[in-house]
C-alpha cells in the first residue's frame, strides 16, 4: 500500500485508509481512484498528486 500527496497543499491519500468521506473504501489503490477525483483540501485534480515514500 502506498501514499500519495497533493503537490499543491500537502494533503495525503493513504491507500490503506482510503477516504470514506470521498467515497473511497479503505484499500482502494491510487490507480483505481476515479480520474475526476479532486483533492478534498484544495480542489486540484488527480494529476497534481505524487507518490510519497512512507
Amino acid at each position: 500500500m502506498k501514499k500519495w500527496e497533493c503537490v499543491v497543499c500537502g494533503w495525503v491519500y493513504d491507500e490503506e485508509e482510503g477516504c470514506p468521506e470521498e467515497g473511497l473504501a479503505p484499500g482502494t489503490a491510487w490507480a483505481d481512484v476515479p480520474d475526476d477525483f479532486i483533492c478534498p483540501d484544495c480542489g486540484v485534480g488527480k494529476d497534481d498528486f505524487e507518490m510519497v515514500e512512507i
Binding site: 503537490v7 499543491v8 497543499c9 500537502g10 470521498e22 467515497g23 476515479p34 475526476d36 477525483f37 479532486i38 478534498p40 483540501d41 484544495c42 480542489g43 486540484v44 485534480g45 494529476d47 497534481d48
Partner: protein
C-alpha cells in the same frame, strides 16, 4: 549541456514558478534554468496560509522546502531576495540593478499583489495584507499576544481567515462594504449559510460599511466605520482583493490589460516571454486560483521543452476553506437560472441554461458531497 548555454529564466518561486519548473524537468533535465525571487524562495502553498490554525501549523511549518533544497531537487539555480528591476525584450536581457543577465526564454510568474487601501489614523503598522509566507510569518508574530482580529473584506480569503482565526481562539470581526459575504462567487442563500456557520463560531459581521480610520488606544485599536459604528480590536487583516502585478511588464512594453496578456500558449506579446499564474490574463481570463495555474504549468513546460502546447481549462470548482460550513463553487460563466434547495446550512444551488444544461453550482455543508457527480456535467472554461 554547454556551460555557456543561455538559461531559461523564471521570475517568481511561488506555486506557478516551482510547479512550472517541476513539470519542465520532467521533459528536459538539462537546459539551465535560473529562478529569481524577491523572497527567500521557500516552497509553500499559498492557499494554505489561511489554514494555519485549523491545521495547527506555524508559518515555518507551512514551508515545505527551502530554496537550497528546491535548487537541488529541480537542478536549477535560485537567486533569493533578488528583485528584477527591468526587462529588455530586444536584447533578451533582464536587469537586477546594474547587473544584466541574458535569457533564452523568460517566464513571468511573479503573481498578484494586494489591492492597496488608504486608512486614516495612526495604526498603519497593525494592518496586515497577507500575500506570501513572509507576510504570514510577520502577522503571526504580531498576533502572538493578541486576542481580537478585525478582517477587512468578506470575500473568499477574508472568510477563510475569519474561520481559521476563530478556530485559533481569536475574537473576529469582519467589515466589508457588501450586502452578503463572498459576493463575487456565491448566490445569496449559500452566502447566508456560510455566514450563519461563521456567526456560530462567534464571528461578528459588519456588512455595508468600510473601515475609515484606525487609531491606537491603551487597550488596542479602535476602527471607525463609515456608518459611525466603532469596533475595538487588536490587529487588522486587509483582505480586500488582489490584482496581477504589471509594472515590469508595462515598462518592458508588453501588452497588458487586467493581467499580462497571453495567448493559449501562455506567450505574451513578445515571442520569447511567457507568463502564467496570478499575473497572467490567459485568453482574456484572469483566474487567481490553483487549478488554472497547474494546467498552465503543464502546458508551458511542454512548450518550453520544444513541444508547443496550448493550455485548456476544464471545469474549475473552487473550494472555500471555511470548515465550519464547507463550500465548493463553480461560478457560471454565462447567465442562467438558479434552482436552490436549502436545509439549514446545507445549500444546493444549481445554475442551468434554458435547455437544462448545468452552467455552474454552489454547494455548502453536506451538499458538497454532490460535487463529483456535478463536475461531470460542468462545461469546460477554456476548451
Amino acid at each position: 549541456m554547454s556551460q555557456t548555454q543561455v538559461p531559461v529564466i523564471v521570475i517568481g518561486t511561488g506555486l506557478a514558478g516551482y510547479n512550472l519548473v517541476k513539470e519542465f524537468r520532467k521533459q528536459d533535465a538539462e537546459t539551465p534554468v535560473l529562478m529569481i525571487t524577491a523572497d527567500d524562495g521557500c516552497n509553500y502553498s499559498k492557499p494554505m496560509l489561511s489554514t494555519g490554525f485549523t491545521k495547527g501549523k506555524s508559518a515555518s511549518e507551512l514551508a515545505m522546502a527551502d530554496a537550497g533544497k528546491m535548487a537541488e531537487q529541480l537542478n536549477v539555480t535560485i537567486r533569493t531576495n533578488t528583485r528584477v528591476t527591468s526587462i529588455d525584450p530586444e536584447t533578451h536581457t533582464i536587469f537586477i540593478g546594474e547587473e544584466s543577465i541574458a535569457y533564452d526564454k523568460l517566464v513571468l510568474a511573479w503573481g498578484a499583489e494586494p489591492v492597496a487601501v488608504r486608512i486614516e489614523g495612526d495604526a498603519g503598522e497593525h494592518i496586515f495584507a497577507i500575500n506570501d509566507l513572509q507576510d504570514y510569518a510577520n502577522f503571526r508574530a504580531e498576533l502572538d499576544d493578541k486576542k481580537r482580529v478585525l478582517v477587512m473584506g468578506a470575500g473568499l480569503i477574508g472568510c477563510e481567515y475569519a474561520n481559521d482565526l476563530s478556530n485559533g481562539g481569536y475574537e473576529v470581526d469582519v467589515v466589508a462594504p457588501c450586502n452578503q459575504i463572498i459576493p463575487n462567487l456565491l448566490p445569496e442563500p449559500a452566502a447566508s449559510a456560510v455566514q450563519h456557520g461563521l456567526e456560530g463560531l462567534g464571528v461578528k459581521f459588519h456588512l455595508g460599511p468600510l473601515v475609515r480610520r484606525v487609531t491606537q488606544t491603551e487597550q488596542g485599536l479602535v476602527a471607525d466605520l463609515s456608518n459611525g459604528e466603532q469596533v475595538e480590536t487588536d490587529i487588522i487583516i486587509s483582505a480586500i482583493g488582489l490584482r496581477p502585478r504589471l509594472d515590469l511588464a508595462v515598462k518592458a512594453g508588453l501588452q497588458v490589460n487586467q493581467g499580462i496578456c497571453v495567448d493559449r500558449s501562455l506567450q505574451t506579446s513578445d515571442a520569447d516571454i511567457y507568463a502564467l499564474g496570478d499575473c497572467a490574463e490567459v485568453d482574456g481570463k484572469v483566474l487567481l486560483y490553483v487549478m488554472p495555474l497547474m494546467a498552465s504549468a503543464r502546458a508551458l513546460a511542454k512548450t518550453l521543452a520544444g513541444q508547443p502546447t496550448d493550455v485548456s481549462y476544464g471545469a474549475m470548482p473552487i473550494m472555500i476553506k471555511t470548515p465550519v460550513v464547507p463550500v465548493v463553487v463553480s461560478p457560471p460563466a454565462t447567465e442562467g437560472l438558479w434552482d436552490i434547495e436549502r436545509s439549514g446550512v446545507n445549500v444546493k444551488a444549481l445554475c442551468r441554461d434554458d435547455a437544462g444544461a448545468l452552467l455552474g453550482y454552489a454547494l455548502t455543508g453536506t451538499c458538497v458531497a454532490d460535487k463529483l457527480a456535478l463536475n461531470k456535467e460542468l462545461p469546460a472554461i477554456l476548451k
